[in-house]
Symmetry: none
Amino acid sequence: MSLNWNDMRVFLAVARTESLSGAGRVLQVDPATVGRRIGRLEQTLGTPLFAKSPQGYALTDAGQRLQTHAERAEQAMQGAQDALTGTTATLAGQIRIGAPDGVANFLLPQVCAAIGAENPDLDIQIVALPRVFNLSRREADMAVTVSPPTAGRLTVQKITDYRLHLAAADSYLAQSSTLTSRADLGAHRIIGYIPDMIFDKELDYLSELGAPRVTLASNSVSVQLNAIRQGAGVGIVHDFSLPAAPGVTRILTDQISLTRSFYLVRHADDRRLDRLNRFATALIAGLRQEVARLESLA
Amino acid sequence: MSLNWNDMRVFLAVARTESLSGAGRVLQVDPATVGRRIGRLEQTLGTPLFAKSPQGYALTDAGQRLQTHAERAEQAMQGAQDALTGTTATLAGQIRIGAPDGVANFLLPQVCAAIGAENPDLDIQIVALPRVFNLSRREADMAVTVSPPTAGRLTVQKITDYRLHLAAADSYLAQSSTLTSRADLGAHRIIGYIPDMIFDKELDYLSELGAPRVTLASNSVSVQLNAIRQGAGVGIVHDFSLPAAPGVTRILTDQISLTRSFYLVRHADDRRLDRLNRFATALIAGLRQEVARLESLA
DNA sequence: AAAGAGTTTTGCATTATTGCAAAGGATGGC
DNA sequence: GCCATCCTTTGCAATAATGCAAAACTCTTT
């Protein structure tokens, strides 16, 4: 005479609804069946589980002790179902992502590492290029962008907002002239993009500063950040990159604060491909979480 | 379409025996039934759980992931059954324990409180008397002793060893003459038992010190410890009582270190009484744990 | 190569469980 | 006090699950 595991599930429903008919509605079985199963369970365990009254079915002490175990079993069963129905197989093959180098340097490595760890047969390629990717020509399977595309048979999902501020090395600030307002910027060395190589108007951060003269420029955000770290000047940085740049401090945050957004762009036809769908879902979730985490550290 | 919890149990049996017929034997159901249930479970979860071959049923990756959850559920169900069938009723009524006052003061209160908390209808009486209890005359239902009895229709279980050392209050040591060897004891005030009232030769601690003159005596270990705390002298204390006596420190531990044992003595006929058996089991476990805990704090 | 043993799978009869309906009881509203 | 509503319990028919037996397959031993 051993425990019927399904009876435990019925027991939980009665415990929570405090009635046979309530449990029957939850489980979509007849209250008569619920009553019989509780009776059988009480006989199996040799002790009453409920104090039965017209007011309802209240748990006895024994019932309360049983509930703890029954809920653990329920969690295990739910976990079993989630584990199996969510991911019937890990991802495999090769997936190529196009991304601007800010994302490519400071976000994609750890997010893709985590995805790769859960999908050992998957090879992920991160293509960091300072230009718009042509998904129609399959230059990448998907791309992270800072503007949503307006043409082509593409689908777009917004990933997250992110923040940018002026920043400089502490060593630079210590030896340079005062910098307490936008007007003071004119006396400082500015680091930024090569203007004629800016491939997305959303990256034209400095135009919001009145287009100052850029004395040290690069088409790579990573190079720009390294220059800032070396004390070469003042520039706009992503908040999410600051944890990777100790000694670099945001400045004039009350006067200059930019917000941009990341989007995931895919070829429209690929929406039918389960593995790319699952990868995209994981990538978006990973990027959102990582931006939030890093910005909270900045 | 929801998970059948009983199918999970069948799944575990197949996973472990690697066959339908093996699982059928374990569960005492027909292998045909086992096969049908596995088939139904695989349909419910939408993925194969076993790689089926004439060599046997080997778990797939999905099956291995499921097994983890299924085993957690199994533990919960086993715990549920144990929790309910092991103690279908709590202890009730009254139980009287005889004990020497060291145990009665420093161990039995908390151990009996814990047992009482789990058995609200039980009244426990702790009888602390400086003499041997006569269980034949039912002076107590059971007794904690420091020597196993040699006569009478009694049963004996050893509870635990425990340790004793010379100790004194820090305040006493600060103002008294040097005490670094047994020879120095002669110059100090000794606290101990009243010699002609020692009811068990195992309590004659001081005879192991060469029977020095006892200037402050009591038949109660508790009174002795309080005297030591008040700086009245030096005496033997149970290590397990030291956490209750801040400011009291063991001395000469490398030269004088005593070990004694506790036993639980019961009337032989009572071995057939379940409630006394269960109480005795809990008492022994509680005492063992508490002595170990307190001695580790000392 | 053949025979024996063990396993899995399938069809069918048997058994167990469930749903349905009715009866009885309790509670709340009028 | 009466009526309506809801709940629990029980009897019975319907449904689902199980055991049993047989067939097919594989592996091991002779």
